[in-house]
Amino acid sequence: MRPLKHVLLVEDDDMDVELIRAALNENSLVEYVDVVHDGAEALDYLKCEGHFKQRPKIYPEIIIMDLKMPKINGIEVLQQLKKDAILKKIPVMILSSSREPKDLSAAQELQATKYIVKETGFKCLVDALRHYTESVNKIV
């Protein structure tokens, strides 16, 4: 199975970043993971602004994003992405520790591809990415 080439991980918790990286590596799901630590950084990254002015305009295949983050939270990022003709096409998987129905429905309304609750080992995330890759491979 062809791994995903390029994933943007939006996550403020460094330990979670490390664990997610480990899970993705172990399952050889992604070739390259870029990490940003909050919503503001994520938007700069995607729009090649601020710190990321020099970044070549290459878009990640998929965005994995936390909800509860400093500055700009995940829901606000989703709202911004929806307004952008190009960015709104990138699939976004929400990876949150919240099980609140209001968070789930907010993400759903803003057309997030998936809503995954953080758990030990990130098995659900691994399964979701695998499933996504398989479906993409089938089409391509």
Partner: protein, 524 residues
Amino acid sequence: MNKASETITDFTAHHHQEQASNMANIPEQQYWQLIDALPFGVLFQQQGKILYANAVLIRMLGLQNSLQLAGSSFYDLLHQDYRAAFIESLQQLTRQGQVIEIDEKLVTADNRIIDVEISAAIVNINQQDLVQLTFKNISKRKHIERALKQSVEEFRQLAESMPQFVWTARPDGWIDYMNSRWHEYTGQTIEETQGWGWESVMHPNDLAPCIERWTEALKTGDKYEMEYRYRRAKDGTYRWHLGRASSIKDEQGNVIKWIGTSTDIHDQKMAEEEARRLNQELELRVKERTAQLELANQELESFSYSVSHDLRAPLRHIVSFVGLLAKHLQPLLDEKAQHYINVISESAHNLQLLVDNLLEFSRMGRIDLRKQVVDLNELVKNITSEMAYEVNDRSIAWHIGPLPAVYADPIMLKQVFVNLLNNAVKFTRNRALAEISIGTLQQNETTLIYIKDNGVGFDMKYVDKLFGVFQRLHSKKEFEGTGIGLANVHRIIQRHGGQIWVESKPDEGTTFYFTLLIAKRDAE
């Protein structure tokens, strides 16, 4: 000769004929016919002696014929009580020569007393001055007048005996009577009261609306009711009164009289006002207290939520990194080191479970119920089949009776059954054959569900602790658990408006009972 003239022949024939013959322009016969045909009694007399009486008067006096009057004095016909006054009046008439009208009483032949209105005039017939009297029977009118007077008297007496103000007014609103209560209360004289005197003792704030209302009533003739204050003369205070008025109408619907009352409702009104004020104050206080409680509750909920929430991440990290560490060190670990790592991992797992359950418990108290029709047969079937894998090494006899459909939040209700069935499975662990029954006992508007097991049971003296958070009746070594499950079950049933209770005996088993609302078509 005709009948009319016959009536007089016996005592005045001669005289009469003389008179008649002198009436140049009227033929004699026609003249007497005319007198007899008059609808009232006519009598001619001179110095008390009756000269002539017509047929109507004869009948009025209850006589058969005029013979019975022959030679009698007219004055004898009068009621003796009135005789002197009448004679006096006649003498005055003679002096002044004017027509007079007097109400008199006559005594009839059969001793009845009749009311008559007598007009007296001096007429000159045949150069002789005669007294001509005409009689109108007014007995009926007098009777009505007396009845009316009596009824007015009765009304007055009734009005005077009432504790309220009672009044009457003319159709134009002019007060023509107030009972003495009014005069005592307001200090007004009858003259001051007559007409619109009430305006000067009414509270200035009530005057305009009252006049408006009264004017409106006078226009329509409809009865009305309103409240206003009158000043009490004794202490100058204004007291609330309830005023009521209605009109009496004639056959054409025109108002002929207004009758009204005013009742002192001051004390009652003040008490009502006080009660209302107290109620409002109480309501306000309850509202404030409720708001405070709600706020405190909200703070507590959000505190417990964020604590649980923030605890989850570091716990997940501990579990995850211990896992990675174990994997990384696998070849180097001796038995003891492996044990230590297992203990850390297990403890972190337990803590994770605890936090998750606590979070769930907090969530169950906050989220909105999404009630719908839930078929309990299907729900229980799903749960038992999900559990089948975990209990495949056990001998469990499930007795599941037919269950109703209920009106509840399906996700929360599932939690109730998962918790209670897990408990039943857990606490029958030591039985060779576990018996678990699920059924329903009664069905009205609510249904009573029971879940019964033959497990270890517990002593009922601890029953109060059973549904509390972190309350456990067995050691963790015997039976694992966080002590939140039943608290959650309790909270969910309560939020559905149901009740839950339990019966148990050590070593014999436990039965949980709870009530739920039966699903009805119109419940949705």
